[in-house]
């Protein structure tokens, strides 16, 4: 941006800050006005609801920042869930299955990465294809059945809280992964190269960034995380099924865009995305507690998403106008 304003001011008026403030506002208002919203149990429920979205959103943010997209994540989740059930039925131990499932997810990512960076195909087309492909494989593996007899100490851990208090066990995982992804994205040369790729892939290439290789690894990580979420999803619902997580990719992309990441790449921050996920989940939770119907819920989240794409564009346009007028005034003097 050709912005001459001081850094602190552009940070204060940035979309991610606005969304963060909005999130805090929604949380505060809901705690006071929605009955049963501010309880510790509801907090646990909310964390469990946002767990799959927030984890998959971490690598998704990086991918969208580079100007690409991965729509196959929910199907990768479904495939790992199926594989988990199948392997469990084969008598493997759960301690072997869990890392194996993460590897299966990573392999799904390798296929995506190869098709996109190796063959140079557009990521939208490739991942829509693998969205169907991985979901189809999931049904081949497990058919229409479900596997449900996973060990209680694992399923209980996912839904449980630390010392039976208010903090869900999975929150540790969310915080740990968010910190790692945050550092990589915002405090390493690798992270900065993602923005360079998203802003102008060709320029990034000529300045020595390995564009294809970087993107390839992003897809592998995205697949691995989707695999991990497949495991967590299966354990949370104690049910390995081929249709697990269907449609989740849209919730993830919605949250990432709401968090201020530009779908064209080059712009966006992880804290904004985290706020976006929390905002969507908290709003849905609060409205549901107020007995708002599912359809009305869809309308609210849909409008929010449209606004999140529309508003930054309007503010940029207004700011540009104002900037030009000031330049004209300066020239006239």
């Amino acid at each position: 941006m050709s912005d001459t304003r001081p850094a602190w001011r552009s940070r204060l008026t940035g979309w991610d800050t606005i969304i963060a403030v909005l999130t805090v506002l929604v949380l505060i208002i809901a705690s006071f006005s929605v009955e049963n919203f501010g309880t510790s149990r509801n907090f646990t429920f909310m964390v469990l609801d946002l767990l799959p979205i927030i984890l998959i959103a971490l690598p998704m943010t990086m991918i969208i920042v580079t100007g690409e997209i991965d729509l196959s994540v929910a199907s990768t989740l479904g495939l790992t869930s199926s594989m988990m059930g199948w392997l469990w039925n084969q008598g493997l131990s759960i301690e072997t299955i869990i890392p194996l499932c993460v590897v299966i997810g990573a392999i799904c990512g390798v296929v995506n990465g190869f098709l996109i960076t190796g063959l140079g195909l557009p990521s939208l087309a490739v991942t829509i294809g693998t969205l169907a492909l991985y979901r189809g494989l999931a049904f081949v593996v497990l058919g229409d059945g479900a596997v449900a007899d996973f060990p209680w100490n694992y399923t209980g851990w996912v839904t449980g809280t630390i010392g039976d208090g208010a903090v869900p066990n999975v929150l540790i995982l969310i915080v740990a992964l968010a910190v790692i992804f945050g550092i990589v994205q915002h405090a390493t040369p690798f992270g900065r190269s993602l923005y360079a790729i998203g802003a102008n892939a060709q320029a990034a290439h000529f300045s020595g960034i390995r564009v294809a290789r970087t993107k390839f690894w992003l897809y592998v990580v995205s697949g691995a995380v989707a695999g991990l979420v497949g495991v967590l999803w299966t354990l949370r619902y104690s049910s390995a099924r081929a249709d697990n997580g269907a449609g989740l990719e849209l919730a993830v992309v919605a949250a990432v865009l709401l968090g201020g990441v530009s779908i064209f790449g080059g712009k966006g921050s992880l804290p904004g995305v985290l706020a976006g996920v929390v905002l969507l989940t908290a709003l849905q939770n609060a409205l549901r507690l107020e007995d708002v119907s599912g359809q009305a819920l869809n309308i609210v989240t849909g409008s929010l998403l449209v606004l999140s794409v529309l508003l930054p564009n309007i503010t940029t346009a207004v700011r540009g106008n104002w900037h030009r007028r000031k330049l004209r005034q300066a020239a006239a003097r």
Partner: protein, 358 residues
């Protein structure tokens, strides 16, 4: 931090190594004993306890805006009115396995007295339902049962055996004495109900009485009108000699009847199964369909509300042999595994269909 791909590679291989190490010894299917069952009702039943007023009774069907479950929950609403309780209806827009869980969690937060739920997945809803029961909420399942260790009672519309037999019997009647090819148009491939009925029906077809019937295909319309319509069309393209389409789902039978009544197969191919009288009326009157069956869905919701109220009032706990009164439906006895059977299905024909409005 993951500066070069090589670092990433070594991290991955390290992870694989860890995976390999942990592979020896651990929790497997055989060593696993699932001890995580729900809380059991400990209080003794008091058959003479008065029904409480003002009970909060919430209905959670498989999905909202499904005509069939609307009738079911409508019956529940009538019963809750009679009981002077607070009726609530919530539900997801899609019938997926996990979308109900958020709604159960919400109902726990709202401290309902009774949750009446039709489970999309018998296991996925279990942890949440057990949390509800731990919070002293009575859980009654209807339509599609959850695992029996995570609900207090199940309202069974009819026994699986009874429905399977009646489907086979109607198929034979429709095919005529010469028999012929029949096909099933079901809901989703993982619909608990439909699958168990089809299982029984297949067993029936192995009997000598049904030797002339040949089941050629089980198609799935996913309880979606358009998909079911296309599947019905597809069945007749693949099996031109088909005599009967048996659709054990209200969406499927209506779509199949609509297709047949508007095609050249009308009068040659019969449609039967489980349907709603209001949706099927025109196809019965134009002779596309001569007979189909269903229990009265409004009675299911009605019975579920009364069972929930009786349980929340302490009249019953869900144990076998306990009795309770369900308003206009009379007295019911709880069977094995907490099952309460509504009664035999009603058969609808041109003669009696106008007596029913649902």
């Amino acid at each position: 931090m993951l500066r070069s791909p090589r670092t990433l590679l070594s991290v991955t291989s390290a992870a694989l190594l860890v995976a390999g190490l942990t592979a020896c010894g651990g929790t497997t299917k055989d060593s696993n004993t699932n001890s995580g069952s729900g809380t059991q009702a400990s209080a003794a039943a008091d058959p003479n306890a008065a029904l409480k007023e003002g009970l909060k009774i919430a209905f959670l069907p498989k999905q909202l805006n499904n005509p069939y479950s609307d009738v079911e929950t409508g019956g529940g609403k009538v019963a809750v009115g009679e009981l002077k309780g607070e009726y609530k209806l919530v539900g997801p827009n899609d019938a997926s396995a996990s979308s109900q869980v958020s709604y159960i969690n919400t109902l726990i937060q709202q401290q309902q007295d009774v949750i009446v739920v039709a489970a999309n997945d018998p296991n996925a809803v279990c942890p949440s339902l057990n949390q509800a029961r731990a919070a002293k909420i009575k859980v009654i399942t209807f339509d599609s049962d959850a695992s029996k260790d995570c609900r207090d009672a199940f309202i069974n519309q009819a026994t699986t055996q009874g429905i399977g037999e009646s489907l086979a019997k109607m198929a034979l009647e429709q095919a005529g004495s010469d028999g012929g090819e029949i096909a099933v148009l079901s809901a989703t491939p993982n619909a608990t109900n439909q699958n168990s009925w089809i299982e029984v029906m297949k067993k029936e077809l192995e009997k000598p009485d049904y030797a002339k019937l040949k089941l050629v295909k089980v198609a799935y319309g996913n309880d979606d009108d358009q998909k079911s319509f296309q599947e019905a069309q597809g069945l007749l393209q693949s099996y031109p000699n088909l005599k009967v389409i048996v659709a054990p789902t209200t969406v499927g039978i209506a779509a199949a009847a609509r297709y047949i009544s508007s095609s050249s197969y009308k009068g040659k191919v019969a449609v039967t199964g489980l349907g709603l009288p209001n949706q099927m009326r025109e196809y019965v009157k134009d002779n596309t369909v001569t007979k189909f069956a269903l229990w009265n869905p409004a009675d299911i919701g009605y019975l579920a509300a009364y069972a929930g109220a009786a349980m929340a009032s302490g009249q019953i706990t869900g144990a076998e042999g306990e009795k309770f009164k369900a308003g206009k439906l009379g007295e019911y006895t709880i069977g094995a595994n907490g099952e309460i059977v509504l009664g035999p299905p009603t058969e609808f024909t041109k003669e009696n269909i106008d007596q029913f409005n649902f």
